[in-house]
């Protein structure tokens, strides 16, 4: 709550003129940014599509025509448009439409949660490194370097190999792989903010480290983080699909787009729709996230506009 008030330019006290001036910026920036974003048609359409997908996923139990786990072996691999199965059936005779709806729920959840976990961990690590500097920074950055030097999917595979396959572990694995990305972004913005006047001023008037980090530094690093996160959700969904391809993802009979896609590849000649449909969904969602991420970035960085 307090932060809300602080961010409003009109209500900040005169005792902190420097802070009020700079802390006020995000508000008007956000406002302008939203206005600019609204004018970016690709981003708006993408956002609408993503919202639609999220609504569909949330209401999966209500709208899915069938139980996505009930098999019907004699009626497997039915084509699109079969009576009773609008989008056909998969390799065990399960309804494709229902599985796509339920699968979206899982895939989107994996993408968002993985990003959230990676971002939270990355932010904490990046803030610590950037703010305290010195040996803290050196140690953390060496650890980050170590993580970065790993081929990303390999690290995820190794993590899943030791934790055991499954959705939660796959999610955790791709999150760990994502940490350095956020840590570096945050550290970068901290380094550029650390010595700015408003931070120094806050320090002078006796604000605690935690307060400075959260209210002054983090608040001002949000823009690049949001952009990065939007673009990253798609990457996480693809990485999780990659783990599913290797058999390390969601456990049967859970529907998840990556699992559906990789199981369906065995039927690419006989029933291409069972891999094309989940592939298409992943593709559309990732594409939409990229357009939205681009739009947000362009909107927040006015220099890129004409």
């Amino acid at each position: 709550m307090e932060r809300e008030i602080e961010l409003r330019p009109g209500k900040t006290s005169d005792a902190r003129p420097v802070e009020s001036k700079l802390a006020g910026r995000p508000r008007s920036l956000t406002h302008d940014a939203l206005r600019r974003l609204w004018r970016d048609r690709a981003a708006v359409v993408s956002a609408a599509f993503l919202l639609f997908m999220i609504i569909i996923s949330l209401s999966a139990p209500l709208i899915a025509p069938m139980d996505p786990t009930v098999t019907d072996l004699p009626n497997r691999l039915l084509p699109i448009g079969s009576p009773g199965h609008l989008l056909g059936t998969d390799e065990l005779g399960r309804d494709m439409l229902s599985r796509l709806i339920w699968g979206g729920r899982v895939s989107l959840l994996v993408g968002f949660i993985a990003v959230l976990v990676a971002m939270s961990a990355g932010v904490v690590v990046g803030l610590l490194a950037g703010y305290f500097g010195g040996w803290v920074d050196s140690v953390i950055m060496r650890l980050i370097d170590i993580l970065m030097a790993f081929p990303s999917l390999l690290l995820a595979i190794a993590v899943v190999a030791s934790l055991g396959p499954g959705l939660t572990n796959a999610m955790l694995a791709v999150s760990i792989v994502g940490i350095p990305y956020y840590a570096r972004i945050v550290r970068g913005s901290v380094l550029s903010l650390r010595n700015q006047e408003f931070v120094q001023a806050a320090r002078v008037i006796g604000a605690s480290d935690l307060r400075i980090i959260v209210y002054h530094i983090l608040a001002n690093s949000l823009a690049p983080l949001i952009v990065a996160a939007t673009l990253d959700v798609g990457w996480m969904i693809m990485a999780a699909a990659g783990l599913s391809f290797l058999g390390l993802g969601a456990q049967p009979p859970t529907a998840e787009w990556g699992v559906m896609l990789s199981a369906g590849r065995q039927q690419i000649r006989n029933a291409p729709h069972i891999s094309i449909l989940p592939g298409l969904m992943i593709f559309l969602v990732v594409l939409a996230l990229n357009f939205l991420g681009d739009g947000v970035r362009d909107a927040m960085d006015p220099r890129l506009r004409q």
């Binding site: 065990l92 190999a161 396959p165 000649r269």
Partner: protein
């Protein structure tokens, strides 16, 4: 777009096939075996060694097999033994001494002589920790194959005597297994551990090159002691993805393929350019019950779950005829097999009734482990998911956990005091030597709970144990048959597993490849194969 086009292509191809088949059949039989040509085999993974005694998997033995001859060999399409490098043999009255008379004039590919010393060297290399060349390899099968051997004596240059510690009826079959393939002692001395990538045997083919990840090349051995092979070169290529391997076959990058995806088999059967060779293997695929845990200690529950699974539907729809329905843990190709056992045909009503009788009218929940893949596991995840759905239909709610093969074996196959988490576990077995002992004893005897053997569900029936012990120490085939048939009836009535199918070994090859015969023990023999020009 392409399904339509391929469909048309298939129709055209089918018509052509019908026309050409009617014309071509008489011609095909007129062909005489011809030398020449190359067979390119698409394997599903890279072989790990070409040193036969070190082989532990099918994929590898397929590449290594043609480099060697065994002391004995399995007859074509059978598990009966016939002379190999040993021309004849005698077994002493007490069943403890095996005297082998070796073939004369056989040379290893490096030109050195094959003789009794070489036999002694090969066996002792595997089993004697003090043998100077014991550390030139890892011999996983040594214990199984030679565990009963007390000593090996050279009687004269071409006679060797193997003495056993105890009577072991299946031992004669062991002499035809890959640990009894003879490797040149000279080469082992020269290459040390690298014999693994510089194999030297006596077989119809000799080693040319191995480019890791790309190909293994073998060429015809012109100095073979027997009838030389016809085909000039054998090339083995690892192609991991099933669909990629199929594309390579259709595009001509390989002309011989393993692991055909069941759903694509029908189309290959109808393709005039290819032929499908198949044979029911010594294989069984099943689900273990952990019989020490409730409720699986109750035979009614185990029977109920057997009734609940529509095995025929799995065989027909998922395996598409690449397996035959199993009604018995023993595969039908193994002698002593009987189908006069209790049947558990699909009957969900009966399953529910049995569950109610056992005190579980509303079912229960349990944990079902299955590997992602693995030797002989066919399509483990798909099959397990189908079983899971069938069990759910009678109220048994199981949660599947998949594992990669390595951790699956490590965590699933454990002694009972480790108290494994699973209630149900998918597994499969491929017989090594065609002896019923190799299935029934090792998988179902109370003596063979892990870590001794693979009775992973801790099934125990004193009567069965007694019969199985008797079976492996009796030499008379007729008596053994009777013993094993009795054991099968008892085992099936106890329903310690849900057995699903026996895999049919299937390979698809260019139709010009002639006279290829599959063998129940799995390897590919190319010595008698030729290619029609």
């Amino acid at each position: 777009m392409f399904p339509k086009r391929t469909f048309l292509a298939w129709v055209v191809a089918l018509c052509l096939a019908l026309v050409s088949a009617s014309v071509a059949v008489p011609l095909a039989y007129a062909q005489e075996p011809k030398a020449g040509g190359t067979i390119i085999v698409g394997l599903q993974a890279e072989p790990v060694t070409l040193d036969a005694p070190q082989v532990t998997d099918y994929n590898t033995i397929r590449a290594a097999y043609n480099l060697y001859d065994g002391l004995l060999r399995f007859k074509d399409e059978s598990t009966e033994v016939e002379p190999g490098l040993a021309e004849s043999w005698e077994i002493s009255e007490d069943g403890l001494e095996y005297t082998l008379h070796l073939r004369k004039g056989v040379k290893f590919h490096d030109g050195t002589e094959f003789n009794a010393e070489a036999v002694k060297f090969n066996i002792e290399r595997q089993i004697d920790p003090n043998h100077p060349y014991h550390d030139t390899g890892d011999f996983a099968y040594a214990e199984f194959t030679w565990g009963a051997v007390k000593q090996v004596d050279v009687v004269d240059e071409y006679t060797v005597k193997i003495t056993l510690e105890y009577v072991l009826a299946p031992f004669i079959s062991h002499l035809a297994m890959h640990p009894a393939f003879m490797v040149s002692p000279q080469a082992i001395k020269t290459y040390g551990r690298d014999i693994s990538i510089n194999p030297v045997g006596t077989g119809p083919y000799r080693f040319v090159s191995w480019t890791p990840g790309a190909e293994i090349v073998l060429e015809r051995n012109p100095d073979y002691w027997g009838k030389p092979a016809y085909v000039d070169k054998l090339i083995f290529r690892p192609i991991i993805e099933d669909q990629a391997r199929l594309t390579e076959l259709l595009a001509g990058g390989i002309n011989f393929m393993v692991n055909i995806p069941p759903d694509d088999l029908e189309r290959l059967r109808n393709d005039p350019n290819f032929k499908v060779v198949e044979q029911t293997g010594m294989h069984t695929w099943w689900v273990y019950f952990n019989t020490l845990k409730k409720p699986f200690d109750d035979v009614r529950v185990r029977q109920a779950l057997n009734y609940a699974v529509n095995k025929q539907a799995i065989v027909d729809n998922i395996l598409k005829g690449t397996g035959v329905l199993a009604i018995n843990p023993l595969p039908p190709v193994v002698w002593s097999y009987t189908d006069e056992v209790e049947r558990y045909d699909y009957n969900p009503e009966k399953a529910k009734q049995l569950l109610a009788e056992a005190g579980y009218p509303n079912g229960f929940s349990c944990i079902f482990w299955t590997p992602e893949s693995g030797s002989g596991m066919q399509q483990p995840v798909l099959m397990s998911t189908a079983i899971q759905a069938d069990l759910k239909a009678v109220g048994v709610d199981c949660q599947i956990k998949t594992f990669e093969w390595g951790s699956f074996l490590e965590q699933g196959v454990v002694p009972p005091d480790k108290n494994p988490e699973w209630d149900l576990m998918a597994f499969s077995w491929i017989g090594d030597n065609g002896d019923p002992d190799n299935h029934l004893y090792i998988l179902l005897s109370g003596d063979q709970w892990p870590p001794n053997g693979f009775n992973c569900g801790y099934y125990k029936n004193e009567k069965v144990d007694e019969l199985l012990r008797l079976g492996r120490t009796t030499l008379d085939r007729a008596k053994r048959t009777e013993i094993y048939q009795q054991a099968q009836k008892l085992i099936v009535a106890d329903a310690p597993w849900i057995w699903i199918d026996h895999e049919t070994q299937i390979v698809v090859m260019d139709k010009r490849i002639q006279n290829f015969k599959l063998h129940p023990t799995g390897p590919f023999r190319f010595a008698d194969v030729w290619i029609e020009q």
